[in-house]
Amino acid sequence: MRIVEYLREKKTAKLQDIAELNGVSVDTVRRDFEQLEAEGLLRRVRGGAVFHNADITTQKVGIRGITHREEKKEIAALTDQFVADGQTVGLTSGTTCLEVARFLAANYRRLTVITNNLAAVNELAEAGRFTIIVPGGVVDCNEEAVFGDTCEEDILSYNIDVAFLGVHAISVEKGITDFRINQVSVQRAMIQSAKKRIIVADHSKFDQVAYVNTCGLDEVDAIISDSGLSHEVYHKFRNCDVDIVIPQP
């Protein structure tokens, strides 16, 4: 792709310049840019594009399309009943925990956060007020998170007041399960190290079963979800003695 090569070299590109280079219209280039941005190869800015890691002023990690974004924000807002200033908080990988990180960054003065979620680290670091600890290990670029034996050992060496776990599947019969085999052992380490273990999951994760077991519902202190959770599902889980927190209507 000529555009990506150009950007790799020059770091920035104007719509006009690329149009001239390729002998096409500015509109065509604009569409190309949209396409390439969707593929994560560049970031569109006013008048052109930048190679997505060349942003010298904000250096934000590219945020891929987040599904159920509003629901995740609702969930993040409900975490405040579990966290007090000065505490040690754990966050796992995924976009729900990323929203929790944003919420914490905006609403707390002092926290120690232990997280393998690299996108969350970005949000928390911008606040500048928190102590942020990242466990070591191998980087999973798709998850934007660290994983591995070292990661688990590091997490186990800390005492966490409250851990928020972003999960992909919750079921009455099978408890918490997941597709991300790398992340399951990290989650287990968080569960072991934390006094309070709170699942954060939007309504689409309920009544789902994935092939790896994380833990049973009895190992979890509460589940926070969004207003999209149906009454039926809510009561089904309440009847199993699980504390579910959702927004007040």
Binding site: I56, T57, Q59, V134, G136, V138
Partner: protein, 264 residues
């Protein structure tokens, strides 16, 4: 000065900072003409750059900050001498081979190193304690990336701590690409980043070969903390800004120096 069509913000920032380095003080009007932007846009740019420690807004314009690199945050230090850094990292093809395990410490030169590696290598295992460098390395789709766990320093955007150093020591690397702040033929490698020194020493212990990557502005400088002597290095990579005389002097200390003119 020719009135250019309006540039992208990032280009404007670079131009403003470079210009101020030469002139020390500049008015809004000067900067507007330099970049082809409106004075209003320049005001906003300057406010932003001041926030990041790159300059000081004064009555009628802006003044460059003094050359105290230690006060500037990691992100903004990256603008200085960028073309020299890009020039020198190209020489790394002499020592980096696909399949190797490479360590990159925290340093703005290694931002360019990371870009170079991603563009020119298919398979590498890379470890770094700097999360900005990690962001760039992530674009190397087939790279195995490792991060040593630790506490985040928000200014450097890198991880530090005793545990971090211990984790680094648990690995073996083929090559350390070492970004430093000061090289002297009298005092060796020195640095002002106290926390980074422990990390550097751990990386050095874990690596078979050590290559310093430093643009010419780092030479014949001494910072207040010692890192190591020149005899502990295998290679030094620098740009064409290094004088013949300098190259000779450092060669006489027994280090293999690569610049575009020498062995490059």
């Amino acid at each position: 000065m020719v009135k250019n069509k309006e540039m992208l913000q990032e280009d404007r920032f670079l131009k403003i900072v470079e210009y101020l380095k030469q002139t020390t003080v500049a008015s809004f009007a000067e900067l507007a003409e330099l970049t082809g932007a409106s004075v209003g846009t320049i005001r906003r740019d300057l406010a932003r750059l001041e926030q990041n420690g790159m300059l000081t807004v004064v009555r009628g314009g802006a003044a460059s900050r003094s050359d105290d690199l230690s006060k500037q945050s990691f992100d903004m230090r990256g603008i200085e001498n960028r073309s020299e850094k890009q020039e020198l990292v190209k020489l790394l093809s002499r020592v980096v081979v696909d399949g190797q395990a490479i360590a990159l410490n925290s340093g703005t030169t290694n931002i360019e190193t990371a870009r170079f590696l991603v563009s020119n290598y298919q398979r590498l295992t890379v470890i770094t304690n700097n999360l900005r460098i990690l962001d760039i390395l992530k674009t190397g789709r087939n790279f195995t990336l490792i991060v040593p766990g630790g506490m985040l320093n928000p200014e450097e955007y890198a991880l530090y701590g005793k545990k971090c150093e211990e984790e680094i020591l648990s690995y073996n690397f083929d090559l350390l690409l070492l970004a430093v702040n000061a090289i002297s033929d009298q005092k060796g490698i020195t640095d002002f980043r106290t926390k980074e020194i422990g990390i550097i020493k751990a990386f050095m212990k874990s690596s078979r070969k050590i290559a310093v990557v430093a643009d010419h502005s780092k030479f014949d400088r001494v910072a207040y903390r010692n890192v190591c002597g020149l005899d502990e290095l295998d290679y030094i990579f620098s740009d064409s800004g290094l004088s013949e005389e300098q190259v000779c002097r450092y060669k006489n200390q027994g280090v293999e120096i690569f610049t575009p003119e020498n062995n490059g």
